[in-house]
């Protein structure tokens, strides 16, 4: 089922949520839409711009995959001062395309390997042409740091000390989310956990699915914080000393933050790479190769299974969300994003090619994003439950 269809289904489910109170009290079975592949908990990422997007056309038989490398230049305090996203779209299939990708974009230029030249309008990257069967569209997209930085997956903080420096790396994707709970049959929950685990280990997007619940379906009283697991590796170095390397997973049941210390004097240099990761640890079955076998071996509390199913799927959805920092014009396309952070010399921002000129003003970006977020949360809020009348 496509993400577009799932989004519609989830929206429909949110309206169905208020209907069957009688069914709940009678303990009748109900099908609940599980999280994934949509909706995302927040509307951004992918990034949005201030301008309405130009008309988009994608021939029905075309599909587009997106690979992005986001290079974040960080200043002396490790805050982002420059953000450049190299997006490589691969169009599969024969036909016309007319694409517009929004974001706080201040410039674009062709990237190596591109078979077409990108266009630029206010806050829009444009592509138009014909794909003869396979076509690469690659661009370096220069983003306004003030507007784009809040949607990066990591927060970095760098403290200078007399004898060295301390870098704190924090997963910034965590957000409180509604999680449904109720009574379901362990074998079905185990099967769904196994399906979820398989998708996670294969690194593919979740497919939409349902679980059958019996009786009342409620939400957890305290909303858990759901974060995209991030694989972070890199090094912190000071002149004349060996770099201190690190390689961690932030999330997936591990802490969302860590600190790295390096000794020495001089200007510290940070270089790290972060990529949205899969949920592995939290989906490992206890004492058996699969969840199905685990529940056969010994009883596992249903509430724990339900919570694990819901929260791990929400984490995978959040991880999938950060795979598209700039939008993939094909909502069903495969997207991958890697975020590179590196200390850069702090200097006034250089002029970028095709600058939108006077396009600053993060304030308006923030307002737009806030309004968009409000709208999307209304849609996403109760969108997980669908009721099937038996």
């Amino acid at each position: 089922m496509s993400r577009r269809k799932l989004l519609l289904l989830a929206s429909a489910a949110s309206s169905a949520l208020v209907l069957p109170a009688a069914a709940v009290s009678a303990g009748r079975p109900q099908q609940v839409v599980l999280p994934g592949p949509v909706p995302y908990a927040t509307p951004v990422p992918p990034l949005v711009g201030r301008a309405a997007l130009s008309q988009v056309y994608l021939a029905p038989r075309l599909h587009i995959s997106s690979d992005q490398r986001v290079r974040v230049g960080i200043g002396p305090d490790a805050r982002p001062v420059r953000i450049r996203d190299r997006q490589r779209l691969v169009v599969h299939g024969k036909g016309d395309y007319q694409l517009a990708i929004g974001g706080p974009i201040e410039g674009v230029r062709p990237a190596p390997g591109t078979q077409s030249t990108p266009g630029l309008r206010t806050d829009q990257l444009l592509w138009a042409g014909f794909s003869p069967g396979h076509k690469v569209l690659a661009a370096d997209v220069f983003l306004r740091p003030r507007a784009a930085a809040p949607y990066l997956p990591l927060r970095l903080q760098l403290e200078r000390r007399a004898d060295g420096a301390v870098l704190t790396v924090t997963n910034a994707t965590a957000i409180e989310q509604l999680v449904y709970t109720g009574t379901a049959r362990p074998p079905e929950l185990a099967r769904l956990l196994d399906d979820t685990r398989r998708a996670s280990l294969a690194g593919v997007r979740l497919t939409g699915t349902f679980a059958t619940f019996y009786g009342e379906v409620t939400t957890l009283k305290s909303r858990p914080r759901i974060a995209a697991p991030l694989h972070v590796r890199g090094e912190l170095s000071l002149p004349g000393h060996a770099p201190v390397a690190f390689d961690r997973i932030l999330g997936d049941g591990r802490p969302l933050s860590f600190r790295v210390e390096a000794r020495g004097t001089g200007t510290p240099h940070v270089r790290l790479e972060a990529s949205p990761a899969q949920v592995v640890r939290l989906l490992r079955p206890p004492g058996a190769p699969t969840w199905a076998q685990a529940v056969e071996r010994r009883p596992l509390p249903v509430s724990d299974l339900v919570r694990k199913l819901m929260t791990t799927r929400l984490q995978l959805v959040r991880s999938d969300q950060f795979q598209t920092y700039l939008a993939d014009p094909d909502a069903d396309g495969r997207s991958r994003t890697v975020y590179d952070y590196e200390t850069v010399a702090f200097e006034p921002r250089p002029a970028v090619p095709g600058s939108t000129g006077g396009a600053g003003g993060g304030g308006s970006d923030a307002l737009l994003v806030a309004l968009a977020a409000l709208g999307a949360l209304v849609v996403a809020g109760g969108g997980l439950v669908a009721w099937a009348h038996s």
Binding site: S54, Q55, Y57, A59, K94, G95, D96, Q98, V108, S116, T117, P118, G119, L120, R121, T122, L126, A128, G129, F130, P132, G133, P353, G354, T356
Partner: protein, 408 residues
Amino acid sequence: MRRTVVVLAGLALLAAGCGKSGHGAGGNVVLAVDVPVSGSPYVAQTIKQGVELATSGINSGGGLIVGKDSYRVVVKVYDNHLSARTAVADTRKALDAGAAAVITDGTGADATWELANREHVPIGIVYDGGSGLVDVESRPNVFRIAPTNHGIAFRYAEYLIPKHFKVGLLHDDSAYGQEGASDLGRAFSESPESVAIRMTLPAGSSDLSAQILRARRSGATALLVWAQPPTIAAVLTAARSLGWNVPVYTPPTGADPYIRQRLADHPDWVDGLTFAGGRLTAEVGTGPFESFQSQYESTYGADRVGVRTADGKQVVQPPELAMYAYDFARVLVAALTRAGTLDHAKVLTALNQVTIQGANGDERGFNQQSHEGVVDDDVYFARFHDMTYAPVKDDPLSSTLPSIPQTR
């Protein structure tokens, strides 16, 4: 007669009354059309008619709303005689007349853009695909809706090299031919083994037998002729007279009615001639272009080529050039509307931000990175048969395009 005048005056008043309410009369918006009326009448006429067609509906609909005022769009035509010097003089006159834009075949654009740029007036090129005419950085006021020489040359390289032809790259010594040769040189530079010979032909010569014989002896198995229509006709005449049935490829000039008129007695010599052009249809099909063509023909009549098919039908020329002029005028109108003012600088900025649906159904517009309204991907190839042409089937884009009816 007097009664007719009274009725027309009444209708005019009625039309004025039907104008979009709430908008004051702002006066005229002048669109200057600078074309070679006396140097290349077919090109000039079709460009002029394309612009007029785009604007006539606006005036009859109550005028062009810019900000709070309604304006009448006036098209002023200048004849540049295919002379850069005259084009400069025309541009001065157009600027003096307060033109909102100068729409041109491209003659003299290397000189006129700077004059217009001082006043932030856009220049819209709708015929000449010459490289260097349009440069978003150094010539911010120059826009083009027409296939570029660069795009055509590279599409030809992409199309012909995999066929393993030994291509004879011929061009005439006109400015058009020389510019094209330069783009072809770059396009084929990565595959020099594909080129059998490069040769300059004298423009205007009707007998090219010696040159074509030389091309044949070079081992060429295809000819790519970047030249004016008379030269292309002369190449076909020479090759076929020699009994050499070599495939001949050309830029858009290969579709010029002149060639078919010139070779009307030997329609088989035209058969197989392949030219490159901007696609006339989008993925939505022939509907939009046929609708435009019908509107064009009902206003100006069909552009008859002057030849007939084997079964006696009149051949007409699809209004491709008119389409580019029509689209540019409509993009300009969209920019004026978006700018909400006649301030030239603001209109120039707005031109980078608007899109319209073009006469062929495709989106047309410019942006901050590109002032080309026809992307290289939109260059297709068509081949003549029986005095009409159809998209080729051995090119990915062209094979998806339907034929446009060309007989009446």
